[in-house]
Symmetry: D3
């Protein structure tokens, strides 16, 4: 067996380490991913082996990359998701967080996190915020600076900046990888059978075609 | 304090018992809801106090109500969800299940279960089945009798009977109350702000209005 | 250190990945074991490293191997246990399942699953089914096609086909590896000290000897 | 509704409180069952409502009832199981324990705990101890004073005093209610169908009858 | 039995409801404590029965009470802990949070949360922040506005405003009731035996006496 | 890439295996760390890959290393912590234990375990034992031989031998790695900023200096 294959095996081994980890109680104080492995990380791998605890540093437990907003999309939304891939200290501790900035009128479209409850805290601005429960009831209103809202685990929620200046939101999750399923893209941009979508939404074949082009992942 | 209030307090007490329970490991063999309380149960309460274990009967652990399909909707879908409210023995054991029947061409629209993974087993028929992952990739194909598919926890999935006869599916969940959020109704029938929906889906105010009427909970 | 040892280290590493995984909430959508590693898998290893999620395919989430019964034992029982070793998509999702077929009069002897509750659904036939609780009470009766029974986590249960044709049962579990301890073999075929068994069951040395020969693993 | 029924409702409410609790992380420091309710406790109820934390006392967290052996059975085994029903402080904390004493030659017959791993520590004596794994392999040998053995969750295990004086064992569990299923009684004393038992153990109808009389719960 | 006792029973019943709940996965969308019960709540009870889900309101999921700092202590620290007792929507969802304000030079003394990891986000100011791991290594430095630090579950941590203006910190926890054990008060103000404290800290009887008076709970 | 780096990758891979494991329900009977890897283990690594289950031996599940007290410290305390690093069979099973011996007058200073509840059983001697709850109330008294006390998860506790002979305590935990934070060393020996400590404890700079020298890790 070649050395190259050996290394690949190791890489997959490391990869699956993360895949098999779970969010419940850790069995050690912490587990800092080892920066040495940055070089062998690729776009398609999420490799998070751990440092020996004596090599952990203070900066492993501090995140400094969200002092300013992230890169805004065309629609005026900028998010900086913070989890073990960019904040090592979170690994195995069952939490992660996000900074979201919305320009005036911008929205965070209906989405949900399959594996976490979210608490959002309005750092600045006026943000229409809400979620929908299993009985299709919506709970929504405009939040002002200093207010907080909870989005229960796995339920669809959304936000829109209804103020006249930029808004900033700090959200925290009780999973190190909450996941995010954005409804418009997941439904119309993923390739679900067109006939099924027509029947599900009561739309014509032409209308579904329009929606599919709009959320085509090659374009979005 | 009146007796009536006392009883109400008790009712709420019982109610919240269920609300606070969680799906992890039980601390007893089982916990059969007590049928005595049927009388004080109302449409809006889910009251599940437990029997003394010595009063449990064999039939508490057997469900006989899905030998034939449930009541079909106008669109040709019939589901019989089975959980502790209709099958007492499931209470606290972390599982529930469902029988779904689809007439030819009928669909089970895109939906997800916030609190469970689902395994579906095709009892009869040909069913196009699939789910969408967090990266908006769809995993779907037609399943035949005897095949099974897994829908990972919290991810959007869907089904359509593509055969020329009725189809029957048996689904099981690893939560006693998996929850169910149906995308078309949750998004367009729940009362989310219209401007936000227009921006999220790129639809006109008129189109959104049509969708909202289509999924109006008073009509659906 | 030789390359061979390196590879062995990797194998053990992969092996223990599975061993250390737990059934609670996953921290990713799914984790498909990588088929590349089939070559280094041996009879004694259960190696389940994961694919990069972008390489997962629809078939990873579908199981097609139980359309017909498994291989029948001499006593008329055929089981097809389905878990991550033969259905990759189940890995880390906390569920597994089984198809069991029993010829007329055949039994599934008293056994229990240390790590899961089981829901059994009678696909066809008449099956005497039951379990025993911690107070030594039995809950059992004949189930007909379309009925379901729940066996609470860790309690002894059993089945016998009492109909006049073959029976088929579909069972699902809330663990990806529920385990299975068959009482007759575990007690009499495992090598427990004979004096202890004589005292535990009130049997003579000769009777225990007969039982031990009957359930000798070299013969069974 | 009468006051009597109201009180009964409350009793059932309290009863089910315990039934729905689970072993995972507590959400408070502790939860001491309230002694006030001793009066309404009956043989068939396990009622464990909690004290206000400010009323907890030091003695709620200390157990003094196992300084001497419990009552010996005819076969020479005495056990004192300690859990929230006799040691209030354990409630909700996910642990319980047991003192077992065995006269010379006495056994603790094959049994298992559906909901806990057990660690046994030999306080005095020589005790043959062991368990059987899912592959029917037995792990057993004589333990001496000061040695400890672990019995993994849900696996059949057993003990026999092979020394020439009394033995004392201290066992601890990672569940506040581990459960206990004793194989001989669960199998032969619970009322499982005789034909199934004959087939399962290869015994004659007469032999099964003898076993059933031996482990008849009315006599045991 | 008198009505009064009946009511007391109910109150204890409700009380213990909360006590037995655990932080893992909820089995319903949410569980809003019912405001009706405010009247029977007393200083010593934490009664959180749930509303029928159809009676939940948007404001149940929004917290508006931390737009300005809480009441400052003599030492310059003001905290607003937010959990299900003041923010109903958090109940059963496994999260809670806190706003802390520190005047120039003020400290948040060494403390730990027995049941949660904490993420702190600096809303404004310069705050020396840190924690100690199980090997007695400290991880600490000054955080500026916009930075975040994670304090792993159960480890001692602390903060001090080292800037020249007030500081504001937003902390979130992955438990609805993380608990808080403040070291100086827990050790010196709780009544631990003096001889033990002298030996533990190497202090004289007089020095321990001084410490005990300083942290006497009647004065603090 | 060199072979050496490959091996290092493997080592880190194995290391992180443990780091990512969690205490909840195992998904196999057991997972015995493989002794083969002893050679590559170093002071700073905790490498616990698993044996193939067929290679597990009886002795993997038995611990014989605490028949006599451990090595006493200068202050008269000897502890033998037993966990997967010295008792392989515990791995993944969610429990560990400790033997502690205290000479007359010796103490086990105030400390807590971030990840476990502890049950202590007095094997011999008279031991003043107690813990402090979140409200700074102490629960403590002298325990005699045969008594047991529970220390709830994450709360500060302590012990002192107040008898006239040596005392022996057997403690068990519901985590395979409970962690241990000793208050005097964690606070004064870890390097927390002196000004913060002065303010937290009301001590002078000189007094803090004395404490820091006393608990300097280079000396302790």
């Amino acid at each position: 067996m070649s050395q190259k294959l050996t290394v690949l095996l190791v890489i997959f081994s490391l990869h699956s380490l993360v895949a098999l980890a779970s969010d419940p109680d850790p069995v050690q104080d912490f587990c800092i991913p080892n920066p040495t492995y940055g070089a062998i990380r690729t776009a398609s791998f999420t490799i998070l082996p751990c440092k020996n605890s004596s090599e952990a540093t203070t900066d492993d437990f501090i995140y400094s990359g969200m002092k300013i907003p992230g890169k805004f999309s065309e629609t005026g939304l900028a998010t900086i998701p913070v989890n073990p891939t960019n904040f090592p200290g979170l690994n195995t501790l069952g939490m992660s967080f996000v900074r979201a900035d919305l320009k005036t009128g911008a929205i965070n479209p209906p989405h949900f996190h399959p594996r976490a409850t979210e608490i959002t805290y309005i750092v600045q601005g006026s943000v229409y915020s809400g979620f929908v429960d299993s009985n299709n009831r919506v709970y929504a209103r405009v939040l002002e600076k200093g207010e907080a809202m909870v989005f229960p685990r796995g339920l669809v929620h959304f936000q829109m900046n209804v103020g006249d200046k930029a808004a900033t939101v700090f959200g925290s999750f009780n999973s190190q990888n909450p996941g995010n399923q954005k409804i418009p893209t997941a439904i119309f941009g993923s390739g679900i059978d067109e006939e099924l979508l027509e029947k599900a939404f009561g739309l014509s074949s032409k209308q579904i075609g329009t929606m599919k082009r709009r959320f085509d992942p090659k374009k979005v």
